[in-house]
Each structure stands twice: as structure tokens, then as C-alpha cells.
Amino acid sequence: MAEGSNFDYLFKVVLIGDSGVGKSSVSPFLVLSRFTRNEFNLETKSTIGVEFATRSITVDGKTLKAQIWDTAGQERYRAITAAYYRGAVGALLVYDIAKHATYVNVTRWLKELRDHADSNIVIMLVGNKSDLKHLRAVPTEEAKTFLNGLSFIETSALDASNVESAFQTILTDIYRIVSSKQLEQNADPIKPSRTGGGCC
């Protein structure tokens, strides 16, 4: 629709994490597209199954377009949502800094990705709700050292801090990997044929 098909790379990214950590609100542009969103109310409806959003950024003069699949966190939906891991080149794994259990479950989500996603998937750990300083249950340092090699960021969908850079970072990371790989050989992500890709 709006963004057309002017892009150099198309990356599929999944948003995963426990229910209620704010996956859907990590990306405001996504929230805006939601049927139910009422911007004067902090609550959004729970995500059922999977919802879709898209976002483009420019890196090195290349337009990177992300297809973001925002998944429902509840266990029961795992069978449905796991299908969306296939072909994903990035995952934003979100937890709630004010709820320690959601941080503990990060390990389970990582396993989930190992089981269902591509082994080269770029994972970024996102500690959401950083505005809830007084309720913080997961120290920033702890999360930082939790997994080396995993990029990490804290966000607040409430004040939009870092949400933008979370996407910037993961998409750039993916791009670096993909473009370096491409030098060697062909890359996994979908490279659109500029001619007929979409029909809009």
C-alpha cells in the first residue's frame, strides 16, 4: 500500500516474548494500525495469533524494509505463531523490566527460536517498559551480561524512547550480515525482483 515496493531488501522479523510485555506497543507504527487502538488509553487489546506491520529504514543508501510479525504471547498460540518463525531473519525478544518472570522466560523463548527458526536468525533482547523505573525488577546490567553476543536494548513504548533505535539496530545488523554473506554467495533473505515484486 503506502510504502510501495521501493526497497532493496525485505527482511522478515518476528516479535516474540511473554504475554503482556508490550510486544505490540514496542512498535508505535504498529499500534497505530490496530483496529482497536485508542491513543488516550494505555491499554491495547491482546494480540490474537499474529499481527502484521511493516517498516522501512535506510542504511548505506539502501532501503531496508521489515515485515514485522507481532505474535501472541500466550502458550496456546505457540503452534500458530511458531509457523511465522520460518524465514524470519530477525527476532525481537521482548520482556518486561518490571516483571522478572518474563525475563526468566527469555531462555524458553530462545529455545523456541532454536527449535523453529533459522539458525542464523539475528536476535535482539528488548527490555520494555523502561519508564517503570520504580518497579524495575531486572537490572540493566544483568540483562546486558545475560547473553553475550546478543544485542540488547531497553525501550519504553510509552515515551517511545529507543523503540526506533531497536528497529534501526536489528535491521542494520541483519543488513550487515546479509550483505557480507552476499559477497561470498547468495543470501537467505528474500531479495525482491525489482521488476514485478508486488503488483501495486
Binding site: S5, A79, C200
Partner: protein, 547 residues
């Protein structure tokens, strides 16, 4: 596909009342009402709202002085919520204005059916009437109030407040709870719920008409005629289920719905003499379930289920006043948790919370002369609120009985429905089907939600309520079988648009469909299309097994 889905049930009216069996397990009848948990603050509200307040909720008239009435029902737009919520936030204490009740003569401009307590019409009809009455001074005040509070409101989450609308609790609420048949004895059409949107629109858009046009007259007489049929049908000693279904298929008048739905669902027995004892028993039973379930306090609960419910309840119909009140949320928590515990194969699954809301709103509408969505239920007498909760629980249970395999592990019911829907759409709209396939759109990507929440994320609650009239008339399988045809018709409806979109466009479009302005009319079109599809295809199952 090897295993065929079970065939659909033959169409309505064939075996009237045998669909639902009544569970016979008896729960202690000695469990008297213990609704202390239901209403933290409601105990003396009844007496506080004296009988003289019946006519008007002394709403501040700030909104009335705004240029034009805000259409209340388009609740999907944030602006209406903003404007509307403002009246809550800003509501001065009832005493700070003279009650409009005293000022307003019963008849004005030949417009006699103004119902001051009509929740839905209130922003339309009410406002107009009030603005005639309010002195200029007041209007000025209110304008200022409006501005102040508007800016204040932007920074403030909407805070539910106990508001003057207690006046709209029906005086005979307790009696209705015990004998829903009283709903029939009310003269004229009250429009507590916004079900009959067409009538509302005509009333609020032209409040000054003296001579109703021929068309309106005809509509009115048609409606009266239908009401009469309903009254006749519902007031029989022994309600004829096939007659009721036939009537309900085309929509139930708002004020009869709280009686008709439980009858259609088999929650309320068809013979009149059994009803009040059954209600007593079922409500008592629910109360003991609640007592039992929550006996050990929070620690005694299944933490995982409780946690999920606890985070979903505030996310249920966010922004709608009714659902932001603590008393509503506590009711919903209990309903969902008790259901989940009693259905371990599925437990609580996100989306079930949505399905509970139409029941709660419909039952609530029986006791108030206002839009139930504007109500703080804690103003109700505790036994009445407890009755709403229990009735909602049992009716939700009935509905879920028919679609339980939507919610068990791997959600096979939904998988099956989505698959069949894809096959059906391939049959009825091949170009669309091919276009979706060419774009890489899978039905699961959008129709999963349509099945899981019965389209409640796609259409308004008001639309849903109307749709359920027909579903309930279709019979208990409708929520799994007939719904499939409704979903197919729903998708095909957008065919022209969809066929011009690419993958992203399609997915985004289906995620936020432009149904905000849908009235009963669009829903009824959809239902008739689904009916046709159902009639053609439900006996032609082999078409679905082509793969």
C-alpha cells in the same frame, strides 16, 4: 485431506429444543447469596438514588454546548471516546447544577418520546433538549470547563468515576432479575442497547419532525408488528423454540434480548413455570463455584491461568467506560477463571474474554435505562450484579461448548475452519482466491483471528450482538459452522479491493477493516449471504475435499 470435518447441522427449526442438555449436577441450594465480593461499594447505592431521579441522569451539559452531538456509537474512533470520556472526567458533582429534571417539561415540540435516560440517544436527543433549557451562563461555564478538561484529559488516562447515572438503574431491577418476563411488560421500545441503530439514527437526526414520513411510518409499524410477534412468542406458557428461532433470525428487539438469548441458548427453560426456579438454582450454583474456586484466596489459584486473565481483563474493550470499572473487571475475572478451571482441556485462551462481553452487556441492559457501556455496574443492587455475572457465565459456557476445539491444544477447530473457509472461498470467488495465493497470503494469517474471536476484532460489539441473534437462532453449531460461511461472505465482500492489493496491502487491510460505521444493515446483508452459502454448500461436503 483425509478426515472430513463433521457435516454441518441441517438448517434451523428442525429439532427445536433438543440441542442443549441441561447439566444435572446439583450444587448446594443452601448457598445463599453471598455477593459481598461482587460489589465493594454498592451496598447503599440503591437507597441513595431515590425514586424521583428516575427521569434524568443529571449529566453536566458541557457536551451539550459543543457544536454538535458526538455520535456515541462510533467507538472505534478515538475522538468520540475522547469527547465522551470528557464528560466522565469532568463531571461535576451532581449537586452543582440544578437538576434538569425540574426544568424539562414532559412534552416539547410534539416530541414526546424523548427518553431522558436513554444512554445511546443521550448525546443526540438529550443534548438538544438540554441546550434549549440551559441558561446562557451555564453554557459559557461549560465551554470553559470543556477546554480546561480537554487539555487536562490529554495527559490523563481515562478514569472511571462513579457518576450520576445511577438514576438509570431500573426501579424494578431486582424483580427483573427474578422474573425476566417483566421485560415484556414495559411499554414501547426502549433503546438501552444500540441494537436498532436505524431507529436511533432517525430519532436523533431529526428530532423536530412533526409528521413522520410514510417510510418512517411503515418502518415503525413493521417494527411494532415484530415486537408484537416477539411478545406473543415470549409470553407463552411454553415458548415454541422453532417460532422463537424464526423470529430471532432476523434480529431481536434490544429490550427482549436479555430474555430471548438465554432461551435460545437453553439456559432458561422454555416452560415459564420452571424459569425462576432454574435461575435461582443456576445463579446459586455459579455463586458456589465462585466461592469454592476462590476459597483459598489468590494463592490457591492456578497461577498461570490467573496471570493470563489478570493481564487480559484490563485489555478487554479498552476505552469503554463499562469495562474500565473495577466492578466489571472483577466480574469478568471470575467468569473467565471459573470457566477456565472447569475446562482444563482448553483453559483460558485469549479472545475468550472478548466473547464474554456481549453477554454481560446484554444482561446488564435489562436493568438500566441507558447504554450499558456507560454504566458503572457497582451502582446496581448487589444481587442484580451477581445475577448478570452468573447469567453471563452460563451463557458464555453454552456458547463455548460448541466451539471448545477452537481452544484446546493446537486449536484444531480453528485450523479446520480456516482450511474449509479457504476451500469455500476458492469455490465462490476463484479470482480472489488465486490473487491471495499469488501474493503469498495464507488464510491463517488473517482468518485465524476471525475464528478465534468470532469476528469480534473486526466488527463492533453492537454488530456482534446483532450477529449473535442469528447465530443463536441457527442453533448451537452456528458458532463453528455457520460462522464459517459468515467469514467467507465477509472476506468476499472486500474482493474488489483486495484483488488490487499486494501482500502487505492485503494483510494490513484485513487487519483494520473499515467496518466502524457498520449498522445492523451491513450485518444483515452478511448474514443473508452466509445463509445462501450455507444452504448451497453445507450438503455438498465433497467439494471441500478436493485436495
Amino acid at each position: 485431506m483425509a478426515a472430513r470435518p463433521p457435516p454441518t447441522r441441517p438448517h434451523i427449526n428442525l429439532n427445536p429444543s433438543s440441542h442443549f442438555s441441561y447439566p444435572t449436577n446439583e450444587w448446594g441450594e443452601d448457598d445463599a447469596w453471598d455477593s459481598a465480593s461482587d460489589s465493594e461499594s454498592a451496598s447503599n447505592s440503591q437507597s441513595a438514588w431515590g425514586r424521583s431521579l428516575q427521569t434524568t441522569p443529571s449529566r453536566p451539559s458541557g457536551a451539550a454546548s459543543a457544536p454538535k452531538p458526538v455520535p456515541r456509537r462510533s467507538q472505534n474512533s478515538s475522538s468520540s471516546t475522547l469527547a465522551f470520556s470528557y464528560t466522565h472526567v469532568s463531571a461535576p458533582s451532581p449537586g452543582s447544577y440544578p437538576s434538569h429534571t425540574d426544568l424539562i417539561p414532559p412534552t416539547k415540540n410534539g416530541w414526546t418520546i424523548v427518553q431522558k435516560t436513554n444512554g445511546d440517544g443521550s448525546l443526540g436527543v438529550d443534548d438538544k433538549t438540554e441546550s434549549h433549557e440551559v441558561e446562557p451562563d451555564h453554557e459559557g461555564d461549560n465551554d470553559m470547563v470543556f477546554e480546561d478538561l480537554e487539555s487536562e484529559f490529554v495527559d490523563m488516562p481515562v478514569l472511571p468515576k462513579s457518576r450520576p447515572n445511577a438514576a438509570c438503574v431500573r426501579l424494578d431491577a431486582v424483580e427483573i432479575a427474578n422474573d425476566p418476563l417483566r421485560l415484556l411488560r414495559r411499554p414501547g421500545g426502549r433503546h438501552g442497547r444500540a441494537g436498532s441503530s436505524s431507529s436511533q439514527r432517525s430519532r436523533s437526526s431529526s428530532p423536530h419532525y412533526d409528521k413522520p414520513s410514510e417510510k418512517l411510518k411503515r418502518e415503525q409499524s413493521f417494527k411494532n408488528n415484530r415486537r408484537h410477534k416477539f411478545i406473543e412468542c415470549l409470553s407463552r406458557e411454553d415458548v415454541d423454540m422453532s417460532e422463537l428461532r424464526k423470529l430471532a433470525w432476523s434480529g431481536i428487539p434490544d429490550d427482549f434480548r436479555p430474555l430471548a438469548w438465554p432461551l435460545l441458548l437453553g439456559y432458561l427453560p422454555l416452560p415459564m413455570r420452571l424459569r425462576s426456579s432454574t435461575l435461582d438454582r443456576k445463579r446459586g450454583e455459579y455463586q458456589s463455584l465462585v466461592d469454592l474456586t476462590f476459597a483459598k484466596g489468590r494463592d490457591g489459584l492456578d497461577q498461570q491461568i490467573w496471570h493470563q486473565i489478570e493481564i487480559d481483563v484490563p485489555r478487554t474493550r479498552p476505552g469503554v467506560e463499562l469495562w474500565m470499572h473495577s466492578s466489571t473487571q472483577r466480574c469478568l475475572e471470575r467468569i473467565l477463571y471459573v470457566w477456565a478451571i472447569r475446562h482444563p482441556a482448553s483453559g483460558y485462551v485469549q479472545g475468550i474474554n472478548d466473547l464474554a462481553t456481549p453477554f454481560f452487556e446484554v444482561f446488564l441492559s435489562a436493568y438500566v435505562d441507558a447504554d450499558p457501556e456507560d454504566i458503572d455496574p457497582s451502582i446496581l443492587p448487589p444481587p442484580v450484579l451477581a445475577a448478570i455475572e452468573a447469567d453471563s457465565f452460563w451463557c458464555l459456557s453454552r456458547l463455548l461448548d460448541g466451539i471448545q476445539d477452537n481452544y484446546i491444544t493446537a486449536q484444531p477447530g480453528i485450523q479446520r475452519s480456516v482450511k474449509r473457509m479457504a476451500e469455500l472461498v476458492g469455490r465462490i470467488d476463484a479470482p480472489l482466491s488465486e490473487h491471495l495465493a499469488a501474493q503469498g497470503v495464507e488464510f491463517m494469517q488473517f482468518a485465524f483471528r476471525w475464528m478465534n474471536c468470532l469476528l469480534m476484532r473486526e466488527i463492533s460489539v453492537k454488530n456482534t450482538v446483532r450477529m449473535w441473534d442469528t447465530y443463536l437462532a441457527e442453533g448451537p453449531d452456528a458458532f463453528s459452522q455457520f460462522h464459517l460461511y459468515v467469514c467467507s461472505a465477509f472476506l468476499v465482500r472486500w474482493s474488489d479491493k483486495l484483488r488490487e492489493m499486494d501482500f502487505q496491502g492485503i494483510i494490513m487491510f484485513l487487519q483494520s477493516l473499515p467496518t466502524q460505521d457498520w449498522t445492523d444493515h451491513e450485518i444483515e446483508m452478511l448474514l443473508s449471504q452466509a445463509f445462501v452459502l450455507n444452504s448451497i454448500w453445507h450438503n455438498a461436503q465433497s467439494h471441500f475435499t478436493k485436495k
